[in-house]
Every structure is written in structure tokens, then in C-alpha cells.
Amino acid sequence: MPPLQSFLTETASRHGARPALSMDDRILNYADLDASSTRLANSLIRHGVRIGDRVALWMPKSLEAIVSIWGILKAGAAFVPVDPAAPVSRLATIARDCEIRALVSEMDRAADLQNELGDHPPMRAVVYAADGALPDRAAPWSSLTWNDVESESAEPPPVRIDDRALALVQYTSGSAGAPKGVAISHRALIGQADWTVNALALSTEDRIPGYTPLSSAMSTFEIFGGMRAGATVFPVPPRLAPFPAAVAKSWSDQRVTALYVVASVTQMLLSRGNLDALDFSALRTVVIGGEHLPLQRLGDLMSLLPHARFFLSYGRTEAKVRSLHEVKFPPKEIDTRTIGKTAADIHLLVLDQDDNPVADGAVGEMWIAGPGLMLGYYGRPDLTAEVMRTITPAPNGSMLACRTGDLVRRHPDGTLELVGRADDQIKVRGYRVEIGEIEAALCRHHSVEAAVVIAVPNVDIGSRLHAVVVLKHDAQASEAMLRDHCAAELPPYMVPETIEFRASMPLMSNGKVDRRSLRENAARLGLQG
């Protein structure tokens, strides 16, 4: 099969005049996007980028950043998105880990790059994809401006690759402390894009915001799903992104039709987005993913947007699956734990500790098999072997599969219910406890907006349960009230011993709750007993 970029060329030839990207007051149509990205590909090739190379992207979301993703792919290379808010030292770690050949960044990061990477640069070229003058100091790499790129030819470069090639290296935090690069093929991204376009019936008429950071696994939905359909993508300007009401208003003004947000952002929009005052009549599809969304908040959002279809989505960085579970109003508790449909060629296996299938109704770990799997952790066959194995029996006899760490149960109707994490499972006073069950109980209290439960290690009893709770706007509740509420639903060993109230949950740059910082804070507060 042809690689991912054939999408863009195809869409540009059929709908060249249609807007592909719109941000602030700038619009780029499909023909322009196709031509600009080809120019960048030619420029990268002129500066030594070859098929199979890695090219990093370290800059805030912008039209140029998205042009760059396509340009890197057209050069036959893989793109490596690095969180623009991450310090230059993290970029350096990643750049060395996957030996990038070139970097796309912006001018006001030039000094940082020279200080951090000037002595032993992994890359040969840096493209500064925003206006500004090149730094005076000579850098040990070729420095290019966006003007240099624009003067290249728009003739497609003679790059021949197919869908088995490496397209993306996505860095995720590793349990050993250093980030690990998840290597993703063109095939995995194409499969995910085709599935989302078909399942959500996306078309050229759709208008889709781009809110998730390019460095997060979820952004491939907006970029590749949206553009596969020939839709218009509205990247959210970094200046606007921190303001829930401003983001919501821009989506209303843009008359967006399909939306993908992570659960914690959904909560932020509900509490501070001023949603009930805005017109979302054009919005027909809402996909919520990333983490568990409390039932009550899901219901609140569905009531505010009665014309939209709602899907809860499950995905993994290591496998481009993006399941979709459609929820009907009023949502039920089981909806928030259901793993929905996936593309027909993706298989979700439920296995026991010896990799054997478990019976329906029993809890096992979910493994994923099919063309969405990662190629492996970049340069780390040891880590790859820990999570990827050939599983027999599998639907196609034997199949290569990747473990998820998620514990699930298969119901008689074939649906999968998420019951917890294999690695978050803890023991409290000898009992086995699923953290998610306690969080769900707290969230059922009418004053609670969000709750996170953490196990704080304790030398005497193994671990103590500590809850961090965000109350709804204007709501009141005391620690004693919430403990009483839990005690009414849960066995005593599952009731949090301490509850800490916060105005909001700390989030990581991908929008998920930062559990590590909560744990470290709890330890600092002296809760370790």
C-alpha cells in the first residue's frame, strides 16, 4: 500500500481549493498544503535527510508545524514530535536516542539549541519554521529559514516507500525514568485514520478543532483522520489554549462539527467553558478519550449538546486502535468503562498470566493484535520483548500482540469492560484493591467534580489510601462527609484515609492527570505514616 502522504496528494488533487487548515486569520487550502510540504521535503533531502531518517519537531502548534509533519513524511523520513513546553534538555535526550538527522523548530529557540546541542549535534540541519533573523553565531549545522524552504521546487521528490516504513516515533515516559520512543509505521496510522473516517462518517464538510498537543498520541486523530476525510482542521492557537471559555467560544464561532477531547479537558470546559451560553448547533460528533470521565460529567455534557452523537474512545500509544463506544442519553455507569468497536482487522485478546485466553466474564489482561501495532520501542529490543509476543491461539492461528496493562472482562455480547490497570493494582491490608473503583465511588458524590486516589507506601501496613478531590464550582463537602459517602458504598479497607481538596487536578502536557505529582505531594505532606 502507498504511504500516508498519498492521502494528502489525493485530497489535494480532488479538493485543492478546499481549506485544509485554518488558524488565527490564516487559511491554507489543500493545494497549498500539498505544495508547501513538498517544498520542505525537497529542502530536507537537499540537506541530507534520507529514507528512514528521523526528523524532530520542537515548536508550538502552528500551520508550519503541520506542514512540517507532511513534509518530513514526503522526504521518506519519520517525524518525532517533542512537547514544545519541554525543556531543551529533553529534546536533546530524544534527539540523541533516535539519532535525528534534522530538526524543525522556531527562531527564538536557536540560542537554547546551540547551548545544549552545539558541541555534539546529532542533526545536520535545523529549519526555523517561523519568521526572524538567523542567529549571528555560526551553528554546527545548516540553518534554514522558512523563506529558504519556500524557494524550493514543488515537484514531488523521487521517494519510493510503502506503508511498512517508519512514519512516527512518539516518546512516552518510561517506567525506568528515561523516555522511550514508540516506533509507528505508516500502515498503523493509515488504518487508524481510515477507521475513524468511516466510523464517524467524516467528510469534506467537517470542521474539526486541533486541540491535543502534536506530541501526544491523540493528535493523529485530528491531523490524519481529519485530512483523510478532506475536512478543515482548526489548530487551537497556543495563546488561546489555556483559556477554556476562549477555546469554547472559538469552536462555537468556527461552527465545528466534530470534536476530540480528553476527559480532563472535557471537565475543564464544563466547569469554566461557559458552554451553556454558546451555540454548538453545528456540532454532531464528540469523541472523548484519554482517561475515565465521571458519569455525571458525561451526562452534563450530553445534556448541553443534545444534537451530538457521543463516543467514548480507548487508545494506546503502542497500538493505534482508537476504539469507539457510542453512548446514548442518559449514560450509564457501564458506558464509562466500555471499550467499544475497533477496526475489523484489530483483535482485542483477553489473556491470563500465562498468555492463555480467559473465559467470558473472567478478568484478564487485554492484548492487542493487528496492523495497528507499533514496530517496537526505538532502539530497545529488550523493552519491546517485554510487551510484544506471538500469541497462540489467536484469531488468525497465531498473531503478534502487544500487552496493554489494562484489565478487562468480556461480556456475553462481546463487549469489553475495563476494570482496572494491571500495574495500578494495589494491596491494602492484604486485600486486593482497584483504585478506579474508589475514584468512581467518590465521583458519585454530588459535590465531587473529579477524584484521584493514590496509594502512599507505608512501612507498617503496605500502603495507605489518599484521595485528591476537586469539588464542583460552588459545591461544598468536608473530608468527613466524603469518607462517610465512601464507607456507605465500599468495604472499609477501600475508604481513603485522608482526603485533600484542590481547585483543579494537575495535568500533564497530554491532558491526563499527573498522578506522579500528586503522589510526590502526598509523600511531602508526610502521609507516609
Binding site: 513546553a85 483559556f243 471559555a245 469554566r272 461557559n274
Partner: protein, 87 residues
């Protein structure tokens, strides 16, 4: 410098992203300096609401009102004027 501006400055300078910043003038751009993310904005709004006993409406939580210490101070003063029994 009034008490409102100094409270704002105090809050901003204790943020993790403010490590490198020694001085913050009333007109300096807060958004360009990357001091504030969505988390920081929500924490700050809650903090000002509690400290000054005001309500900042959702639709006022927009970039224009968080552009600088001066813009923030004007936002807070406006909110104090509409406060029940406020001066």
C-alpha cells in the same frame, strides 16, 4: 504599586515556570513568557476569587484579561465594583 498588583505579582512569581524571572513589570506579557498554562489559569482565578472575595465570570477568563499584571489588576478591580456591597 497597589495591593492588587503586588498580590498578582506574588502569585505569578511562585509558579514553577517563573524560576528564571526576577522582575515582572506591570505591562510585561504574561502569555509570551509562557508563565501560564490551563492549570495555572484556573488556579489563579480561584486564588483571586478567594483572596479578593470576588467572582470572575467564565467569559472574562480570556487572553486579553491575562495579558499583563496591569490587565489582570483591571479585571479584578472591575469584579470588585460589581461585588455585592463592594466599594
Amino acid at each position: 504599586m497597589d495591593i492588587i498588583e503586588s498580590t498578582i505579582r506574588e502569585f505569578l512569581l511562585q509558579l514553577p515556570a517563573a524560576r528564571k524571572i526576577r522582575d515582572l513589570k506591570a505591562g510585561d506579557s504574561l502569555l509570551q513568557r509562557g508563565l501560564l498554562d490551563s492549570q495555572g489559569i484556573i488556579n489563579m482565578v480561584t486564588y483571586f476569587e478567594e483572596t479578593f472575595d470576588i467572582e470572575i465570570r467564565d467569559e472574562e477568563v480570556v487572553p486579553e484579561n491575562f495579558e499583563s499584571v496591569r490587565a489582570l489588576s483591571q479585571l479584578i478591580k472591575r469584579a470588585m465594583r460589581v461585588r455585592p456591597g463592594g466599594a
